[in-house]
């Protein structure tokens, strides 16, 4: 994928399985975790370390009034800072 094609957007998906497959294609297991985390932060996700090699990210889509999508991502890396596992979940938020 070219750089333009590679940009992952949660807004293109409506279920976590499809989003996880696309995310894994862009940031496959074994690749460096840093670009994946950077991409999530760049798109507006809030990421936090929840362990020595584990990160939790929360991405709120822009349109949340009166209801919208909230994505949750867990990324685990190995000692070499390569992605080992990615988990993605999707919740519908509403007032």
């Amino acid at each position: 994928m070219s750089e333009g094609d590679k940009r992952f957007r949660f807004e293109a998906f409506a279920d976590p399985a499809c989003a996880a497959a696309a995310f894994e294609a862009a940031y496959p297991p074994g690749s460096a975790i840093e670009p994946a985390l950077q991409a999530l932060v760049d798109m507006g996700a809030h990421c936090k370390a929840v362990g020595p090699t584990r990160f939790a990210c929360r991405y709120l889509e822009k349109e949340q009034v009166p209801a919208g999508f909230c994505w949750h991502v867990a990324i685990e890396a190995d000692g070499e800072e390569a992605i080992q596992r990615v988990g993605i979940d999707l919740a519908r938020l509403g007032m």
Partner: protein
């Protein structure tokens, strides 16, 4: 789960008029530190929110079936492990502890039952009335708990709904906990 603590959580969810609104949910923790959430949400989102999106089966809009309950369906209750990457996990969510020790175990059992009963009522989801925040607070109210929100957090719908006031020739629309005429 034998809860040792139950917290009411408020997670930032968006802005209305420049003010951050919060999504409320409950988190219970047992003595080993294992955590579970209890939350409410809309059953679905309107078709226009699915346009151009993909699911694992293809175009999300193609599989869309409108709910007879309205654009957001009914109030849906869910519970599960509260963990990184899972539903509602937010390490910076504000919290207030509602109960701890034996009282927490009793509250967790009763609020789960109350929430399930509420879900079974198939209440149409009304984002400006009976919505997710209302449902969580209502489940607590049905257990005799009048919970205070975490300080300085706005959670539209969290208050008890006032009885409908019918004024001839005046249309009203609830917005959060106020009434706009």
């Amino acid at each position: 789960m034998d809860a040792a603590r139950v917290d009411l959580m408020a997670s930032a969810a968006g802005k209305v008029g420049g003010v951050t609104w919060h999504h409320l949910f409950l988190v219970a923790e047992d003595a080993s530190g294992r955590q579970q959430y209890l939350r409410a949400g809309p059953q679905c989102l309107p078709l226009e929110r699915l346009a151009g999106r993909q699911t694992q089966y293809g175009d999300a809009a193609e599989d869309y079936e409108p709910s007879p309950a309205g654009a957001h369906g009914v109030i849906t209750i869910a519970t599960g492990a509260y963990e990184p990457g899972g539903t509602d996990f937010d390490p910076v969510a504000a919290n207030v502890t509602l109960a701890s020790g034996n009282a927490a175990a009793r509250l967790w059992d009763s609020v789960q039952r109350a929430a399930k009963a509420l879900g079974d009522e198939q209440i149409p989801y009304d984002p400006v009335g009976r919505g997710a925040n209302w449902a969580i607070m209502e489940a607590l109210r049905r257990c005799g708990v009048q919970a205070a929100l975490p300080p300085k957090r706005w959670a539209p719908g969290a208050g008890e709904l006032a009885p409908e006031v019918a004024l001839p020739g005046v249309s009203t629309r609830r917005l959060g906990q106020g009434v706009v005429r």
